[in-house]
């Protein structure tokens, strides 16, 4: 991995043509030929080119070409602050947690996090307007539909569970059903809509839930 910190101008030619006037940037040359140009702020690179690439370098110009697409990134070096290469190794792959289905599984094992006495009847129960994440009965036996969001719930999540409730309420034996949205956080509009339409909002902490739902104690 080469890390170049430089005051530079950057031009791109390919699907379109762009020019970035002079400024201080960090340029990463990765092992697979990918090149990323980072500005002083922002999480994403302001310019990048996916590998494999061909890099041609003269004293003050670095030309990165991507033969597959004939794109070219030209870095005009005006002042080099640092230019270092590191022999790095990294075989790890990212482990993703918190997928919605994972959360369903965790919640199923700790339904009291949503409400005491809640009993799961079925996961992903199909309705004509889509599957209900958790189809439950509450302590009084009333049908309770739970829509689970792994990130902040917006108004669309509330509307979704309302549609499910309308479908379930079409069956007199099941009506009136309760509707719950469970999420780590709620957008203000989602709360307003939920309050207006009789949908309950339950906030849970995924981290706590993981602790709650990982009940296997160990000896050491």
């Amino acid at each position: 991995m080469r890390v170049l910190v430089a005051h530079c101008e950057i031009g791109y030619a390919g699907r379109l043509e762009t020019r970035l006037a002079a400024g201080d940037r960090v340029v990463l040359f990765k092992e697979d030929g990918s090149v990323c140009v980072h500005a002083l702020t922002g999480a994403k690179p302001i310019n990048y080119m996916a590998g494999p690439t061909v890099i041609e370098e003269t004293e003050d110009v670095i030309r990165v070409r991507r033969p597959a697409t004939s794109e070219t990134l030209t870095i005009l070096l005006l002042n080099v602050h640092a230019d270092t290469s590191y022999p790095l190794t990294d075989d790890a792959t990212i482990e993703r947690q918190g997928r919605e289905l994972d959360l369903h599984a965790l919640l199923v094992r700790a339904l009291h996090v949503i409400e005491d006495g809640l009993v799961l009847v079925e996961r992903e129960r199909p309705t004509d307007v889509g599957p209900v994440d958790l189809y439950c009965r509450d302590a009084s036996g009333r049908v309770t539909l739970v829509e689970v969001k792994r990130v902040r719930a917006v108004a669309a999540a509330v509307e979704q569970v309302i549609r499910y409730r309308e479908q379930v309420d079409l069956t007199p034996a099941l009506a009136p059903a309760r509707a719950i949205v469970a999420a780590p956080d709620f957008a203000p509009q989602a709360r307003v809509l939920a309050a207006a339409r009789g949908v309950e909002c339950v906030v849970f902490d995924p981290e706590t839930l993981r602790g709650e739902a990982a009940p296997h104690l160990t000896l050491f």
């Binding site: 599984a105 199923v108 094992r109 700790a110 339904l111 009291h112 005491d116 009993v119 799961l120 009847v121 079925e122 996961r123 709650e212 009940p215 296997h216 104690l217 160990t218 000896l219 050491f220």
Partner: protein
Amino acid sequence: MKIHCSTEHLAERLATAARATSTRASIQVAAGVRITATSSEEPGELAATDLELSLRVPIEFEVEQPGSAVVPARLAQEVVRSLRSDRVTLEADPAGGRVQITAGTGVYGIHTHPVDDFPKLPEIDPERVFEVDRAAFTATVERVIRATSKDESRPVLTGALLQIEPGRLTMAATDSYRLAVKETVLTDEVPEPIEAIIPARALAEVTRLATGSGPISVSADRNQIAFGVDGVWLTARRIEGQFPNFRSLRPEGFEHEVRLPRGELADVVRRVGVFARHNAPLRLGFSNGEVSISAQTPDVGEARETIPAPFGGEPFEIGFNVDFLRDGIDTASGDEIVFQLISPLRPAVVTGTEDDFWYLIMPIRLST
């Protein structure tokens, strides 16, 4: 090399040796069995290794020309097993690279691996070999091996700790959720104590080999441990690392001790356990004069049975992984199972009534 032998004998010996072969493509020669023939007066040898475990299997040959060859284990097994002729001849091409198997009118040519590429097998120092009682050893392995871990990220737990000292053989295995310990009295002489963590696979292979009678030979050095059974030598690499101090894990005192009939308990756990799926716990509810065993899995159903139990304390409920509990009940001996309990979140001990075996099991935290 040119040898003649009984087809049945060769097939049986090949099957034994082939258990140590590796199917990993990166070490092609490890998928082979080395056949070594010296003379008709001495037994020949089939050898195989996957670099972790190796097997040397003696075999009776009539040797016309001594030599050796490495044949692909699976192919050679398939061919020899399907032969109808009683006798078989194996002849290596002098130029190398091929072995011809002849039986009756059938002629089969097998491409071989280079003998020089075959890994060097660990030598067994006859000075260090001693014997242990076969029944005692295999019974000990069978009682603890289920508690070994399958998690390769913690290699120490994928094996069992073997301690052999004068008068006593101890084996312990744990996957961190449960711990099985068996201590067995040894009458054999032990020249020097051994403490080693042995891969579970190697122990399983030793018990598989040890179906006959007579003692098991044991020899250990710093890196390897070897077991000899009826002339077959199995060598395994010792697992490096520190095995948990298992004796300190056993609580010193318990709040409750409950004896339950083993057969009835095992049956109930098996029946009710059908409903403990997807990591759902098996619940044991102790109350006055009985224990209720129940399980519930969302989307599946629930079950509950009750067994009379000599319990007189404050009622409480404790949850266990059904498979782990079943293993404990199955491996304890005697007509009764003794549960020693402290509280719903502290480890419980399961023992039998007949020998020195104990099984420590952590409960599952019950949410409601």
